[in-house]
Amino acid sequence: MRKVYLDHSATTPSDPRVVEAMLPYLTERFGNASSVHSFGQEARAAVDRARRQVAAFAGARANEIVFTSGGTEANNLAIRGLGEAAQSHGRHIITSAIEHPSVRSSIHGLEQRGWEATQLPVYDDGVVRVEDVRAALRPDTILISVMMANNEIGTVQPIAEIGALVRAERKVGRRHLWLHTDAVQAAGRVPIDVESLGCDLLSLSAHKIYAPKGTGALFVRKGVRLTPQQVGGHQERERRGGTEAVANIVAFGAATELAQREMPERNEHTRRLRDRFEKQIAESVDEIVFNGSREQRLPHLSNISFRFIEGEGLLIHLDMQGVAVSSGSACSSGTLEPSPVIQALGRDDEMARGSIRFSFGKDNSEADVDYVSDVLTHAVESLRKLSPLSRDSLAVV
């Protein structure tokens, strides 16, 4: 059976060049980067090199990069770490309605301890408005956390404009306001430059850019203080205790270098595939909605709601034919959690339940797209035949 992986926003395969770079650090160069002997120094040099690579990828300085176990930890460290360190200046956070669960949960955790949060709407295009950020600012606001690009619908948020707003606020004397952005989905697909974005904290994850799972990074602008969330070692300049995952960090560094160099061609390739796919589906399937702005979005991603059917059923139908995608809703124990992101666009429950994310990667081909379009069209048809909601359901037999 043909296998087509269209879930690159969930994770990507490790690039063989990345694996090649990391392998020596699993075997002969196995040292602990904190050790003073030559084994340790070899590992330290590798971590430092990777730190420079990741910093260059984000337009940052090497000492502004803190390696973590992934995007989730980076988001936790940014939000809880800053919230705790800056609480004497205020306990109000501004965020959006479509953040990743790791951001939502970190903020929720602070709320339970007395912080307050304002959740900005995203309208039907899935994009935050800078005017809403400005209107939500309070004297006690210490942090704005808005993602750079959404993980389900791929909409790109106006971070540079929000960054400009934060800088303008600083100019008029507000000293204790910081901007965090979760750039996990944007990385490798949109150029990242912390200077032009004007952000103080930025989260990255290795496995979304063709490196292994288990490593990420947080950019922490020089001078920004965070309360560490992992204690017990002096690593990462006291900001994140724990032995560095040297091989994974080396892989992450190599992956950022490749991503930066190959970004234009990867983007052009995935955009062409994505557009081909959307054109085919729009012609072959009716009663669908493309979710989120179709202009202001990542080039590799398409999110579609299929009326009258439920996403997980479609997902499994596709999986049975070798096609891997993902669905925003989760149903368990008889309770349904339709995707909060799709709901935030103002879609009804049925559309939120019937949403599927297709995320293309550098190794997909036009033949993949044609196969998926065909399989998807038939899967939708057969599920609609079963659906009591659909006028296409099997007529009287």
């Binding site: 009258f308 059917i309 439920e310 997980e312 059923g313 499994i316 139908h317 049975m320 149903c331 368990s332 124990s333 008889g334 309770t335 349904l336 429950d349 049925e350 339940r353 057969s382 599920l383 035949k385 079963l386 659906s387 009591p388 909601l389 359901s393 099997l394 007529a395 009287v396 037999v397």
Partner: protein, 120 residues
């Protein structure tokens, strides 16, 4: 727990899907929490379920339970059908994850409603 081959076969090739022309027992039930919906149309004659068809909207277990129950009850005595349990539905699918047992419950509930509706 991954879905069984039997389960996947019901999804790929639903049995008895559709609506009966001359049904005399029909019920459509919705799980109020998750919105899953199952419709059964049955033809009852001489104490037996002569024919059964289903339509379903919802998560894969709801679709598979609709398919398996519509297949199981055809030809069954009504009194036996009324005794069918959630577990028997789940077992017929090669098992269901615990968190998906509500789908089997919806199937049983819809079947009983249809039969009771008819006998009223």
């Amino acid at each position: 727990m991954p879905y069984s081959e039997t389960f996947k076969d019901h999804l790929a090739h639903p049995r008895n899907a559709g609506e009966l022309a001359n049904a005399n027992a029909v019920a459509e039930q919705t799980n109020p929490v998750c919105g899953d919906r199952l419709r059964l149309s049955l033809r009852l004659r001489d104490g037996r379920i002569e024919a059964a068809r289903f339509l379903a909207y919802g998560c894969p277990p709801t679709l598979a339970c609709g398919s398996v129950i519509a297949e199981m009850i055809e030809g069954m005595k009504i009194e036996d059908a009324m005794k069918l349990s959630r577990k028997e539905i789940a077992d017929a699918l090669g098992g269901l994850p615990t968190r998906k047992h509500h789908a089997a419950a919806l199937a049983i509930h819809t079947l009983r409603s249809a039969i009771e509706e008819c006998s009223r």
